[in-house]
Symmetry: C2
Subunit: 225 residues, 2 copies
DNA sequence: GTCTATAGGGAGATAGAC
DNA sequence: GTCTATCTCCCTATAGAC
């Protein structure tokens, strides 16, 4: 899968990775070509050999961010057997979405920070790609519903917005080295499909195994949301 | 509740509202004092009579964004009767969170766009307020769990991150004039508590009332996520 | 309170040497 | 391919008139 790259392509990739990190930290307007150049270990003027403008760079970063997700989810769905249930497909899509956004975390976070500030034409193109991804999810949910796996009162559009919101937010708090992506994906799927009060069988990582009781809880150290 | 404001306070509020809209559209670095001044109908130099710097302004905007949410959720929880169940409290908190972020939408979106780019000292202070709000939610969930309303396998920390992620994302797609906040809140609570496959009784707004069938679905017009 | 004018510093992008 | 040097423009913040 890893291709041998020409020397020029290596530099180009180094600049792109550096750009993702700087856009991630400073947003679109706050990012300077000089800062990207420093991060990539060359001088500002040299970037223009690889990319013709700052807009060209942000555009490439944004595309990688969404493409990683759509490609990974497509792949995961195609890898499922014919006999997969709606639940199987939802679990697979959640896992694929999470691993993709975390795998290219710099690009994902750069997108989150910069997308709203980017020139209209660039944003519109990226937004179209995201809309297409949204309809993939709408189809997944509609399919599970058609199979009779959902309660009839379920609102699929709101469910999709709810699921994708929660998934996209994950990048804000997930830190490699803590919980595994699989564990997070399993628990998310469990909440979405069975709910917190339901009695789903696939839940993992019970936090409190002791029986319900008026336990004294110290104020927990919480990550900002 | 609406106080009469001195002339100076009126101008100050006009500048602050203008700043929220401009920060929302251009992020922290992309916002210029000139743009805020234009939006507030005065000249750039005059802003400095009300706020001593750009950092002073963004700081005020960020504080309003989180305070609106914590205050509204606190108020909603306190308004509940003694007999309220864990489910009641979760539903109330979801509704209060949603109405607050939408009510001060410009400030909410400005926070989303700018928080990551703001000088460290300002971000740290705002992040502490957000952490405190996170522990309020952790308590709400722990309480419902202690009452025996959740399945024992539920992971409360992940559930909290999941719920708050989905709620915070709502500002990206919610448009006043469409669905009501109450409807969205009800459906979100229904997914979180009962799941999509559960048979909760509180679900509203069924999208497809016809029985499951292999209906032909046209590719839906989807909002970007 | 709001204005005009401006000081002082950086920004994106280009040209041409190496 | 990468460098240095530089053009031109726009930024935050201040000073002082009204």
């Amino acid at each position: 899968m890893t291709k041998k790259l020409a020397k020029s392509a290596i530099s180009q990739k180094r600049v792109l990775d550096a750009a993702a990190r700087i856009f991630r930290d400073y947003g679109y307007a706050g990012t300077t070509m000089r800062a990207i150049a420093d991060e990539a270990d060359l001088k500002a003027g040299s970037i223009y050999y690889h990319y013709k403008s700052k807009d060209d760079l942000i555009s490439a970063v944004l595309d990688i961010g969404i493409r990683a997700v759509t490609d990974n989810v497509d792949k995961a769905l195609k890898a499922l057997p014919e006999t997969a249930t709606g639940r199987d497909r939802i679990e697979a899509a959640i896992r694929a979405h999470l691993s993709a956004i975390i795998e290219v975390g710099d690009y994902t976070l750069a997108t989150r920070r910069a997308l709203g500030q980017v020139p209209e034409a660039i944003r519109a193109r990226n937004t179209r790609m995201r809309d297409t991804y949204g309809s993939v999810w709408q189809e997944i949910l509609a399919d599970a519903h058609d199979r009779g796996e959902f309660r009839t009162t379920a609102n699929l559009t709101l469910a999709r917005l709810f699921i994708l919101g929660a998934l996209n937010w994950t990048i804000e708090w997930f830190k490699p080295g803590g919980r595994s992506i699989d564990d997070v994906a399993r628990e998310f799927a469990s909440v979405v499909l069975d709910g917190l009060s339901g009695n789903g069988g696939s839940a993992a990582m019970a936090e409190e195994l002791s029986p319900p009781a008026k336990a004294k809880r110290s104020s927990p150290r919480i990550r900002a949301v």
